[in-house]
């Protein structure tokens, strides 16, 4: 079937969507050089800056999480494709300051390659940058090497805790340590029911039978651990949350952040059914859901499915998660 989307010239999708985003939220965002989404009200120079990078086509992420208490610059590439290294370097250079820059990178081949080129250039230029790599996908197994584990929706709450720590005036080493503690205690598992199409060429990404779903699907619909027959919301949630609980080793008395991130075509109605079921499994195990996120954060066009994310929280992380922030798609007052 031909792709059904509201588009103009496919080559201009990214620049047009960024123009729309940054004019819609002109009180919060400023677009620099067509692809650098920056905070409209620049952060004080004595606070650590947060920079991230990624492809487009996953809206609202990443760029709609630019704002006070979150990300300072999101460097955008093209649809599903990382921005180039020299451009990422430019963003690091713009944010360079004595307080330092935390550079958040999701583990995807193109993101990492371009981030490494930007980091090489940053080191040559003597910039004060620390890079952190998110890699919380447990589809290949929680014990597989980091390079085989993708960065999924976990970057969004990581921006939140790191961004809040930066706003609180913590040093780069402290912000990095907090972000890394969160990073080490989080896990995501994705499930897909229907595939996405690439908005520039109409190609369907992946292949799922009408009566099947696939747990462990990647951000773009790359295959996971294998297809299975469609299950109920309760059974799907239970299967997934139990794997996540085992991956981050939470037990009775622990506190967690539970996130249900819709992939694009799955409704909020379904997401709340899933959230309710997962929260019940956690409660039955004596685990307190101290923080929650249900909605569309990191999507992939019209893919049907969701990512379930679980992070073990301590009191400091909970306070940072609940601290004020002001971005187009995340505001806490």
């Amino acid at each position: 079937m031909a792709m059904k989307k509201f588009l103009n010239d496919p080559a201009n999708i990214t620049s047009e969507l960024l123009d729309g985003l940054c004019t819609a939220f002109s009180d919060k965002l400023t677009l620099v050089d067509e692809k650098l989404v920056c905070r409209a009200n620049a952060k004080a120079e004595d606070k650590v800056a947060i920079v991230t990078l990624g492809g487009a086509g996953h809206e609202p992420a990443l760029q709609a999480f630019v704002g006070e208490g979150l990300v300072d610059i999101s460097v955008v590439g093209d649809i599903f494709a990382a921005p180039n290294g020299p451009k990422v370097f430019k963003a690091l250079q713009m944010m360079n300051r004595p307080a330092g820059v935390l550079f958040v990178v999701l583990n995807h081949a193109g993101d990492v390659l371009n981030a490494n080129i930007a980091m090489e250039m940053a080191e040559d230029a003597g910039l004060n940058v620390k890079m952190i790599l998110t890699h919380e996908d447990i589809a290949p197994g929680a014990d597989t090497p980091i390079e085989d584990r993708r960065g999924l929706v976990g970057c969004v709450p990581l921006y939140k805790v790191a961004g809040a720590a930066a706003e609180a005036g913590k040093s780069l080493d402290e912000v990095y340590a907090i972000a890394e503690r969160f990073n080490d205690n989080m896990a995501t598992l994705a499930v897909a029911m229907t595939v996405a199409t690439h908005p520039q060429n109409g190609a369907e990404i992946g292949d799922i039978a009408d009566d099947e779903m696939e747990i462990g699907m990647g951000q773009h619909g790359e295959a996971g651990t294998g297809p299975c027959k469609i299950m109920t919301a309760d059974d799907t949630a239970k299967t997934m949350v139990e794997r996540l609980m085992a991956a981050i080793k939470v037990t009775s008395g622990d506190k967690v952040l539970l996130t249900i991130n819709g992939s694009g075509a799955t409704t909020h109605m379904e997401m709340f059914l899933i959230y309710r079921a997962a929260r019940k499994v956690l409660a039955d195990a004596g685990i307190e859901t101290a923080c929650s996120m249900v909605g569309e954060y990191l999507t992939v066009q019209e893919m049907g499915g969701f990512q379930m994310f679980l992070a073990k929280m301590d009191d400091e992380l909970i306070d940072l998660f609940k601290a004020p922030c002001d971005a187009p798609y995340w505001t806490v007052r």
Partner: protein, 210 residues
């Protein structure tokens, strides 16, 4: 048969490669849709677009400046992995070409080897991992082998084109170790790797342009 190539020959080779990749954009995206996210053709079209722009801005000074412009142009596209990988190859080749006005088969082998080395700083992939390396590494090896036997540039590049095509074809029976396709496991068996296919198209065009 030419024993050496000059900057104009290199220009013709690059222009042939640009045309070939453009002709095959849709085919490359279709290959990628089977095992990745379906945008390899678009990314390669962007990369050769940047190469084309670099060629028009070329100062006509040397083979080195031509290859460097093409490589840096590719490095500056927003094409995911494509820009840094292909950009590194050509920037490395420019360094390997040095200041020479003409390259014989041995000097050409050195240029390609230096490009491969630069690329290997960005990617740990080896032959058998179902990546562009499955075409590139045998092709570079074939140029060196031909040069060692005092072959002409034409014969060396013909051998490279054959080696690259064979290497790309062999990816059909491989499980991917890198990129998005690695998450598919055995299900990539029977699908040729799009990156290796692009690389074999490059060598085919290079050879036919001579």
């Amino acid at each position: 048969m030419a024993d050496t190539i000059n900057a104009d020959n290199m220009l013709a080779m690059l222009q042939a490669a640009i045309a070939t990749i453009r002709e095959n954009e849709e085919m490359l995206s279709n290959l990628d849709a089977a095992t990745g996210d379906g945008d390899h053709g678009a990314a390669m079209a962007m990369a050769v677009g940047a190469a084309d722009k670099a060629i028009t801005e070329w100062d006509k000074a040397s083979i080195k400046s031509l290859l460097h412009g093409v490589g840096w142009g590719m490095m500056c596209i927003d094409g995911g992995s494509t820009g840094p990988l292909w950009g590194s190859l050509f920037v490395g080749m420019s360094k390997g070409a040095g200041e020479a006005d003409t390259l014989d088969s041995a000097a050409l082998a050195t240029a390609f080897e230096t490009g491969l080395e630069k690329l290997q700083k960005q990617s740990k992939a080896v032959v058998g991992d179902k990546t562009m390396m499955d075409a590139l590494i045998p092709a570079v090896g074939a140029i060196r082998t031909a040069a060692d036997a005092s072959a002409s540039v034409n014969d060396a590049m013909a051998a490279a084109a054959t080696a690259a095509a064979d290497g790309a074809a062999a990816t059909t029976d491989m499980v991917a170790k890198f990129g998005r396709a690695r998450n598919l496991g055995d299900r990539v068996l029977g699908h040729v790797d799009p990156g290796a296919t692009s690389m074999s198209l490059l060598f085919k065009a290079f050879s036919e342009a001579l």
